[in-house]
Structure formats: structure tokens, C-alpha cells
Subunit: 224 residues, 2 copies
């Protein structure tokens, strides 16, 4: 367990907490460890999760298999990332997805009840942990909401307008750079790359925007 403390120090959950404090918290929080071989199931759909989980080593894949056997990859979990927190509530139903080790992996299990219950005398860093937990979930939430806003747009053009508007707001300028290349952008918006490229050029030809590589500039719409 101690060998993972340096990894924990670099996670969002334990950021800014010293190694000795982490060691005492691990104790206080009833943490346990489990190892998984490559391709082994960490959780299967239908199971229940009652812990907060943290990936200490390896890489995990979250995948969904529908009733007819079609598989789709939903997410990838990398070292230091927390997961399962959304299912830790007592009334959350069974897991709808599978979690599989993409490489040999190590998962830390934390008792969510212990984290949320307060032990002010024993752990001075407990409050900090609770806040970090809250902020981490909040951030996930914001990203989900933003992406959902994009995905509910039906056409490629609407998705682009929405995404570019969001970026302009975030960077507080009608001129901004994005971190995606075209393929990543298309994946993020769940559209075809060439169709997206096509649509971007159309919008440029219509005078709505301009771009060079990853730098975009939005123009006021020209009313006729």
C-alpha cells in the first residue's frame, strides 16, 4: 500500500497533501488494494459498486455491450484517475458497463462512507479531501454537460457552431486556438472528419468565420 503513496500525491484527490498525511489517511479511510491482469474484468455490468476507486497502476477501459452484442468503448481511465464515484451512492442501480484492465493494473478501494463522514480530530486533511472530491466530480459534471450540449445538436454545422461558441466564451475572445487537430475535433463532436472539414470550409466561404490550422476567428453574422 505504501508504494502507491507517491502516485497518490500526484492525483487531484490528494493534491497538496504530504506523504505522511496520506499514509495516515489511507489507514483512516479503510483503503484496500487489488491487482488485475491484462484483459481481466474489474467490474461487470450488473454488479454494484460501493467504493470510490482510484487507478494506481496500468490502464482501464470502460466499455458497453448492448443486448445484441455490439461493443463500444466509452472511456479510458489512466493512472491517478478516480472512477466509480457516480455509482457509490446507496440508491444507484447496477453498473450498465464493463470495466476491463487494458494492461496489468492496480486499483485502490476507498470506503466512500468514511470519506464523507467527518473525523475532524484524527485527520486534519479530511476537509481538504472532501473538497477535492467535490471539485473533481463537479469538473466531470461540467465537461459532461458541455459535451451533452454539443451532442444534442443534430447537424454537423450546429455542433460546430456550438463548440466554437463555447471555446470563444471560454477564451473570452472571438479569436482563439483549440488543442484538437481535425480528427480529434471530429471524434469529440462525434462526426465524420471529412464532412466536418467540408462544413468548416462552407462556413468560412459564407463569411461566418476564418481559420488557419488551430486558430479560429468568428465573425458577426452578416444580415442581408
Amino acid at each position: 500500500m505504501k508504494k502507491y503513496i507517491s502516485t497518490l500525491k500526484r492525483t487531484k484527490l490528494f493534491a497538496g497533501i504530504g506523504e505522511e498525511e496520506i499514509a495516515s489517511m489511507l489507514n483512516c479511510l479503510n483503503a484496500s488494494v487489488k491487482n488485475y491482469s491484462k484483459k481481466e474484468y474489474v467490474f461487470r455490468q450488473g454488479e454494484y459498486i460501493r467504493d470510490l476507486l482510484l487507478l494506481a497502476e496500468g490502464r482501464l477501459i470502460i466499455q458497453k455491450v448492448d443486448y445484441w452484442g455490439n461493443l463500444s468503448i466509452l472511456n479510458e481511465i489512466c493512472i491517478g484517475e478516480m472512477f466509480g464515484e457516480a455509482y457509490a451512492a446507496p440508491d444507484s442501480g447496477a453498473l450498465l458497463n464493463d470495466v476491463i484492465a487494458a494492461e496489468d493494473s492496480t486499483v485502490l478501494f476507498f470506503d466512500i462512507e468514511k470519506i464523507l463522514s467527518l473525523c475532524p480530530s484524527a485527520c486534519p486533511y479530511h476537509t481538504r479531501l472532501v473538497k477535492a472530491l467535490f471539485y473533481t466530480i463537479s469538473e466531470k459534471n461540467r465537461k459532461l454537460v458541455q459535451k451533452l450540449g454539443l451532442m444534442s445538436q443534430r447537424t454537423t454545422r450546429e455542433k460546430l457552431l456550438s463548440y466554437l461558441s463555447d471555446e470563444a466564451k471560454k477564451q473570452n475572445s472571438s479569436s482563439f486556438t483549440i488543442s484538437f487537430n481535425r480528427q480529434q475535433m471530429a471524434d469529440f463532436l462525434s462526426v465524420d472528419r471529412s464532412a466536418m472539414s467540408n462544413e468548416l470550409c462552407k462556413m468560412r466561404d459564407e463569411g461566418m468565420l476564418d481559420f488557419h490550422k488551430n486558430k479560429f476567428t468568428l465573425f458577426e453574422e452578416q444580415k442581408i
Copy 2:
């Protein structure tokens, strides 16, 4: 402030807590109240939220206006619902959407720092509140993830397969009823109703499933 205690009692956040305790907690949590007239902005995009908000009276609309002025309704907030929690983290950016009062409304503001900081001696129900907060966000998170899983499917058929599979898993049976009518289902999946209806019938004709009104039955795929 006291007049809202009976409303608070019925919210998820304060469920199971007595009126006297709620009164003392309101004090301890630095709660404040603000009234909004119909059509008034509660928050505008670009502003920062640093509180946890709870709608005590009225109804709110969350809407998005893109750079070119196109408006879309993202969500509706009803009495007793919490909102803004995802933006309460210190490093969360500016709000990307507008929040507008659809009717004359009353909003309660809670200091998120006070909620997450521990005062075990003063408020015995504090732990309960922290847990309720966590579970509420978790639930939102689960719903967002599920919906995002649906929305990332590209075709109407894929969305239907995904949605129906999820329902079968949730209800733990290949035969189940759904609460949506066709129009609501189409709205939920962000597809055209008639196109969806069409696709459902095709799938039925192909022997993948059967349905009568809101009762669906999924069949094993027939391999040719």
C-alpha cells in the same frame, strides 16, 4: 427565510432533517435569499457562480445562445432542485449559459465552502448534508453519462439499440415497459419522431424485438 423551511424539507438535499435542524443549519451555512421577476436573468453567461443554489419558488430555464445568436433550451429547473453546484469549484471557469426566471422565482444561496468545511460540534446533521450533496451530484453524473452514451451513437438505430439495452439492463429483463411516449422518447434520443418510429418498425420486421405501446421485448439476434 423561515418560510422556505417546509420547501427545503422536501428537497433531496435536506431530506430527513427536521425543521428546527434546518433552521439552525441555514444560519450555520450563511444562507441568503433573492427574488427574481419573470423573464429576469438569474445569471448571465460569462458570470461566475461561487454558491450552491436551490430554487425555493418558481421555475428557471437554462438556455444557451451561441456566437451567432441561435438560442437553445438546455434544461428546466423546478422547485426544490439544486443547481450551479458544478460551477462552485474555485477553478471552474465562467458560466457558458444563461439562467432565466420562467416565472417569478426565489433562489436560496448557500456558501459551498461552509457546506464542505466541517463543524461537527455545531451541526450534527452536517455529515448528512454532505452525503446528500455528494449523492445528488453522483446521480446527475450517472444520468449525464448514460445520456451521453446514447447521444454519441450516430444513427437512430444505434441510439435505439443502446437505449433499449440500457432499459433491459436496468429492469433486468428482456421484456420491459418505458415511461416515455414516442415523442418524448424521440426527444430524449434527439432524433426525429417519425424516423424513429420507422426504424423501430424495421427492427421489429427484422425480428430483433417486438413492442406494443410502451412494452418492449428484445430478442436474441438471429444469425443467418
